[in-house]
Symmetry: C2
Subunit: 197 residues, 2 copies
Amino acid sequence: MTPAFEKLQKYLKQLPGMGYRSAERIALHLLVERPERLPALVEALQSAAAAVHRCSRCGNLAEGEQCAICADDKRPSSVVCVVEHVPDLVAIERSGAFRGTYHVLHGKLSPIQGVGPEHLNLSSLVARIEAGEIQELILALSNDVEGEATCHYLVDRVPAGRVKVTRIGFGLPSGGGVLYADSVTLKSALDGRRSFS
Amino acid sequence: MTPAFEKLQKYLKQLPGMGYRSAERIALHLLVERPERLPALVEALQSAAAAVHRCSRCGNLAEGEQCAICADDKRPSSVVCVVEHVPDLVAIERSGAFRGTYHVLHGKLSPIQGVGPEHLNLSSLVARIEAGEIQELILALSNDVEGEATCHYLVDRVPAGRVKVTRIGFGLPSGGGVLYADSVTLKSALDGRRSFS
């Protein structure tokens, strides 16, 4: 193919979930089959990049000063679910299981990869805790060493007794059988067992 | 999410092989995780759209007047493989099974969908045939009613005796068992049987 085509394919291939063939298919689609779609896509990319930034309060995607969730009066800012990344927030929103507000850290502590507290969106969370607006902090961080370390870091920064801190449950996913669960999941599931009533 | 995010997701979802979730994942990737990749992708899209057009001779993607295949002296212009779309050409090139040149119709005849000869890249092929440069025309069109009709249309336009016209073989794909083949494929395979020697 042509150099400009191959360059486009290269950049498309860097996107998540995109392989060599799917990048080729999309490049051909935009250049040959439906070239009228290309300017609209470029415009959408450019206007999203210009309009979307981090919510000053929670770190979620926002177009105004605050994101749609922080700006919603019906969602109590006293219950805050802490997540690592925006897609985690999106997944929880999609489940419909939570109606409070969020705080997006944009990462987790990882001394091995050189990620310290200064690299995370932590200062505004500490400010929210110190302002006394938070009553419950739900830690929805991943079930691994870095997630664990980040939870401990946050717990240490919360004034004892003033804020209730919980961590989401770990165990067997819905529809998953014991047979197919890995050892770490099974350990979490056994540790997190509840009385059957 | 925000309006600009949702607009971007909508345009991404229109791309082939892209679902709601993969469009969301890519939009989040480009806006939150790796925003530095977005300008490079936009630039690649714009420069490809500006640079790439149809080869004046065969209809393939080209950046100059002719595509890389037509411009290659080692590829005989006397053997021409006729395909419906550029991805078909790409698939044949990838197989390494053909070293002649191509002609891309950008579609196939379909009276039901209102696609007539005037909608296809046919005039330059007829000009190539009339100029006497083509010795063999290999029809690599799909194995359906429209592909069949397009083949007959082309055969009628070829001066009898001057140009050899062939059609690619149809039958069982490599690695495919008789058990899993559909009826049309099995009929093609039986019709196209060869003596075992």
